[in-house]
Amino acid sequence: MSWACLCDLMSGVNKYSTGIGRIWIAVVFIFRLLLYIVAAESIWKYEHDEFECNIRQPGCENVCFDHFFPVSHIRLWDLQLIMVSTPSLLVVFHVAYRENREKHHNQKLYRSSGEPDGGLLCTYLVSLILKTGFEIVFLVLFYKLYNGFKVPRLVKCDIRPCPNTVDCYISRPTEKTIFLYFLVATSCLCIVLNLSELSYLIFK
């Protein structure tokens, strides 16, 4: 199980999407998933090893890292990509259900099993709302958890067993900040695409 599995699932969704939906899939695949795999993963790979505190007290570094990064940026990014991609599967399941029904009754029950109309349109709209919801939730979570999208160079830590307030230095803060802003920009673009698709389907 890997990102390739998600890619295969999403390629199936492409068939039942509108034009804007296909653009959304292209943006997710290329500007989020591909970028995550080829660039972002390697930036955060050694974040714990390279997190350095100005102290020799054993355990202080571990405790401070855990305090400032309860969930790593890269893991939140992972979760966001998975949660945002999966509502589209509702549409795939609904289409499969329709095709199954037609096979069972041995006759054409729908105008076109893949065309968004009636019940399938509702499912599609629900999936759009869920996708947009998840995007917004994760952006807010990122903002609240890390007090913004900027990664500082230095954090001050005074949690036991650190004896006093200790300076801790984060590795590659600028590079991480740049990629986080990129993540925010692509999330916002995806939100805009989802809202446009929603308005297009409602007013069609």
Binding site: C7, I30, A39, E175, I178
Partner: protein
């Protein structure tokens, strides 16, 4: 999902590209993406671990590394390759849209659609004319812009394309000016120059392709104008027929009815 998937997506565009476009795609995949994956990533793999500063002050190395390398070469190249490849997707989307329209027409049983079966539509190679010409030319223009922007960003961020052996750092918490040594500077310089050279070749190929498409466009227009001048009556009907055929091949839609009526 990795560079291989991008290769699959862009490989489809190859069929509808000009010869120069096909050469560009080959240069992109072999001399840039492949070199990045098999060689450059290894050269830069230990960049932070082997970045050594002449101090025992904790945090000084992290801060100095971040100051001199705000974004790593490798990541910048990955971003550049992604941005430079994506305009080609506009062409892929346009072709997919045309195929979809033709399939729809074929399924309706329209007489104007000249295909025998769906497979033929799937296999058909579209000529770069009409609206597809504009999409294709636009994609080349955007590629050029992205290449130029990234090359400038490289030059601006790293003060040229050479990787120095030694950097002097006095960012806090380093106590004084401290010597920091970059790992594999010569190898990195060689690869940087190589990637810049290949980017320049890609820029030249894009410029050549743009000139070729523009020349073809103006030649076609002057031929049409020339023909209309010499054979006005005969050509009126023929030009209209040509325009009709273009519209049919462009969109397979009913706007043609306006001409016939």
């Amino acid at each position: 999902m990795d560079w291989g998937s991008l290769h699959t997506i862009l490989g489809g565009v190859n069929k509808h590209s000009t010869s120069i476009g096909k050469i560009w795609l080959t240069v992109l995949f072999i001399f840039r993406i492949m070199i990045l994956v098999v060689a450059a990533e290894r050269v830069w793999g230990d960049e932070q671990d082997d970045f050594v500063c002449n101090t025992l002050q904790p945090g000084c190395k992290n801060v100095c590394y971040d100051h001199f390398f705000p974004i790593s070469h490798i990541r910048l190249w990955a971003l550049q390759l992604i941005f430079v490849s994506t305009p080609a997707l506009l062409v892929a989307m346009h072709v997919a849209y045309r195929r979809h329209e033709k399939k729809r027409q074929f399924r309706k049983g329209d007489q104007k659609c000249e295909y025998k079966d769906i497979e033929e539509i799937r296999r058909q190679r579209f000529r770069i004319e009409g609206s597809l010409w504009w999409t294709y030319t636009g994609s080349i223009f955007f590629r050029l812009v992205f290449e130029a922007v990234f090359m400038y960003a490289f030059y601006f961020m790293y003060d040229g394309f050479r990787m120095p052996r030694l950097m002097k750092c006095s960012a806090w918490p380093c106590p004084n000016t401290v010597d920091c040594f970059v790992s594999r500077p010569t190898e990195k310089t060689v690869f940087t120059i190589f990637m810049i050279a290949v980017s320049s070749i890609c820029i030249l190929l894009n410029v050549a392709e743009l000139c070729y498409l523009l020349a073809k466009f103006f030649l076609r227009r002057s031929k049409k104008a020339g023909n209309a001048k010499h054979h006005p009556n005969h050509e009126n009907k023929e030009t209209k027929q040509n325009e009709m055929n273009e519209l049919i091949s462009d969109s397979c839609q009913n706007t043609v009815i306006g001409f016939t009526s």
